[in-house]
């Protein structure tokens, strides 16, 4: 029973990691940048959801708003910041790290802005779905209606993404331009525009993660920082450029964390992410579903 309980905890957190990992992988595939600002973007969209809920008093109305906001923020970041960087980028050791640094700067910027607007105090963004675990034959399992919503939400996002990527022209264009931007351009695809749409998808995934997970904790300008790290580790486990890998990586990490938490102790959780990452990188540098390109030259 304990093992099953632990697994259920892992399933819910793993779904959230998977969403964050999806967001990071989508951006990485098209832009070759690990978007550290994703945590900030998701925070901002969640605050927007929070505001909508304060006005409408309806969590279910606020979530779509948060998702749209997350998509719009991401598209804006790509179209304005990333494109400005690319225009001015030139060869050299600095130009390689410039985009990463820029996303860090953006993370700081969004954190400070949200802090200025909403303060650094912990806010409650509550869902009508209960946070109390279901009761099965007098045993309360650590899986609440809100956890169920998290898992369902993540599944819906993954389903929509899979359908778009596999069966639509937009999906084909998204895949083509992230694999081979130049050839796609020569095939007549407006790669810049497509990339921005890809960022919007990523932003939406991050926003779903933020809006669904926040009711189980609290909302503050840096309440999603840990999720960023977990999402990144999940993405690396999955190979950093595989969408399916991101989902699997998220679930593996979520369940792994849950077991560590259960059997080793709460205080190691933060450092566990680091050690899991190091172990994965040493054992399987390409991740479980990574492409053939080595990490050294990627």
């Amino acid at each position: 029973m304990l093992i099953l309980d632990t697994f259920l905890i892992g399933l819910s957190s793993g779904a959230i990691y998977a969403l964050m990992a999806l967001a990071l992988v989508l951006v990485w595939r098209s832009t070759r940048v690990v978007n550290f600002a994703q945590a900030g973007q998701a925070i901002l969209s969640t605050y927007i959801g929070y505001e909508v809920m304060n006005r409408t008093h309806n969590y279910w109305v606020s979530v779509p708003f948060a998702i749209v906001a997350g998509a719009a923020i991401a598209a804006f970041v790509d179209a304005v910041l990333m494109r400005a960087l690319e225009k001015r980028s030139h060869k050299g050791s600095v130009s390689e790290i410039a985009p990463v640094i820029a996303t860090l700067g953006l993370l700081g910027l969004i954190r400070s802005l949200t802090g200025m607007i909403w303060g650094n105090a912990y806010l409650q963004y509550t869902s009508p779905a209960s946070g109390k675990g279901y009761e099965i034959s007098h045993h309360t399992i650590p899986f609440s209606p809100q956890n169920l919503i998290i898992v369902i939400g993540a599944l819906v996002v993954m389903g929509v993404f899979a359908a778009v990527f596999k069966f639509t022209n937009l999906g084909l264009a998204l895949r083509a331009s992230s694999f081979q931007p130049e050839i796609s351009r020569l095939a007549g695809i407006r790669v810049d525009r497509i990339r921005t749409i890809g960022w919007a998808f990523a932003g939406a995934a991050g926003a779903v993660a933020g809006a669904l997970v926040t009711p189980t904790t609290y909302l503050s300008p840096n309440s999603l920082d840990l999720l960023l790290v977990s999402g990144f580790v999940a993405a690396v486990i999955g190979g950093l450029d595989s969408l399916i890998g991101a989902v699997l990586g998220g679930l593996i990490l979520g369940v792994g964390f849950a077991f560590i938490l259960q059997y080793i102790g709460t205080s190691v959780t933060f450092s566990a992410a680091f050690f899991i990452l190091i172990i994965v990188l040493f054992l399987r540098p390409r991740g479980i579903l990574g492409s053939k390109i080595g990490r050294r030259d990627a």
């Binding site: 600095v94 820029a102 700081g108 200025m116 650094n120 690396v236 205080s267 450092s271 680091f274 190091i278």
Partner: protein, 331 residues
């Protein structure tokens, strides 16, 4: 060569004397801030050494500072190491950690290294809660005591605690700068430059790239460890809260503002980091802004500066100029 070396040592010595002398004419707050600038200079230099000269990125130097800080404090409190030895010990333990991390890092390219060091920055400080000896959330106190009597007597007048911090910080900073300057002119420095400029050519000419990267990581970590020990000194304690992710990001910001491959710029970067909160505080009080504003304004300004710098002067303001004049010469 020998002559220029002793000359540069002399110059460093002169700057040191000047700064120490200066400490007699400033108030307590400025002395404290001076000590802070010194610590930032060391920490930023450690990043510049790593990123600018060896092409690796680290978002986890805050964690390495924590390692240095905790080691120094533990050795001072428990084993009663003398202060200088405690600082050295802190740097050495951080160097060891950096060596191990560097072994992993040499196998990783940009995004993986950035993410791994990020995970370290988030994960490591929380280990403090795991081991009783590290003091949990409250951390450990660190009191280096007042300046020895002979120094206080020599300089005359009252020798305050902050002034003593300032003296130690300045001395360590100058020593570090002198050390880095010589290191960059040595064989290792030339190797790093070669590897950064053209890794394949460097490998073909017999340079062991992996080893050169690991060495850079080790030295950089030692410096970060020293900075961490100094930070613990002026804070009077080590605690997880002192080594947050924000600290790691701040250091990267400072390095970028300094111009990532310009060591002298570290002073500018450090000054900016110390001055910005000062200015924003003044602005916020003047505007009568709420606490929300004043608490977040420094972060806002540094972030905006960081973004503008990578867009408009990715090599730092100074190197940019040098590039231009360099081009003019060759034409």
């Amino acid at each position: 060569m020998r002559k220029s070396k002793s000359l540069s040592a002399l110059i460093f010595f002169a700057i040191g004397l000047f700064l120490l002398g200066l400490s007699n004419f400033v108030d307590e707050l400025r002395a404290y801030q001076g000590a802070q600038v010194g610590i930032y200079v060391i920490a930023i230099s450690s990043i510049i050494l790593l990123t600018g000269f060896s092409g690796q990125i680290s978002l986890g130097h805050g964690a390495l500072m924590a390692i240095g800080g905790y080691s120094a404090v533990l050795s001072y409190n428990h084993w009663h190491f003398p202060m200088l030895l405690a600082f050295t010990f802190g740097a050495a333990v951080a160097a060891l950690a950096g060596f191990i991390l560097g072994m992993a890092a040499a196998r990783l390219s940009g995004p993986y290294l950035a993410g791994t060091t990020l995970a370290l920055a988030v994960g490591l400080p929380s280990l403090a809660n795991q081991f009783h000896i590290l003091g949990g959330e409250q951390g450990l106190s660190f009191d280096i005591g007042e300046a020895p009597k002979w120094i206080a007597d020599k300089t005359g007048g009252d020798f305050t605690q902050y002034k003593w911090f300032f003296w130690i910080s300045v001395t360590c900073t100058l020593f570090t700068m002198w050390f880095i300057k010589n290191l960059l002119q040595s064989r290792f420095g030339r190797t790093w430059r070669a590897v950064r400029g053209n890794p394949s050519a460097a490998a073909l000419s017999g340079i062991n790239i992996g080893r050169s990267k690991v060495l850079a990581f080790t030295v950089s970590s030692a410096l970060a460890g020293l900075a961490g020990a100094l930070l613990a000194m002026i804070l009077g304690l080590v605690a997880p809260m002192a080594f947050t992710l924000t600290l790691s990001f701040t250091l990267v910001t400072g390095a970028v503002l300094a111009g990532v491959s310009n060591l002298g710029g570290s002073i500018i970067g450090a000054l900016v980091l110390v001055v910005i909160p000062e200015i924003t505080d003044a602005v916020a009080t003047h505007l009568g802004g709420s606490e929300k504003i004043s608490a977040n304004l420094p972060g806002l300004i540094t972030s905006v500066l960081l973004i503008l710098t990578v867009i408009f002067a990715p090599n730092g303001p100074q190197l940019h100029k040098r590039n231009k004049s360099g081009k003019a010469k060759t034409q």
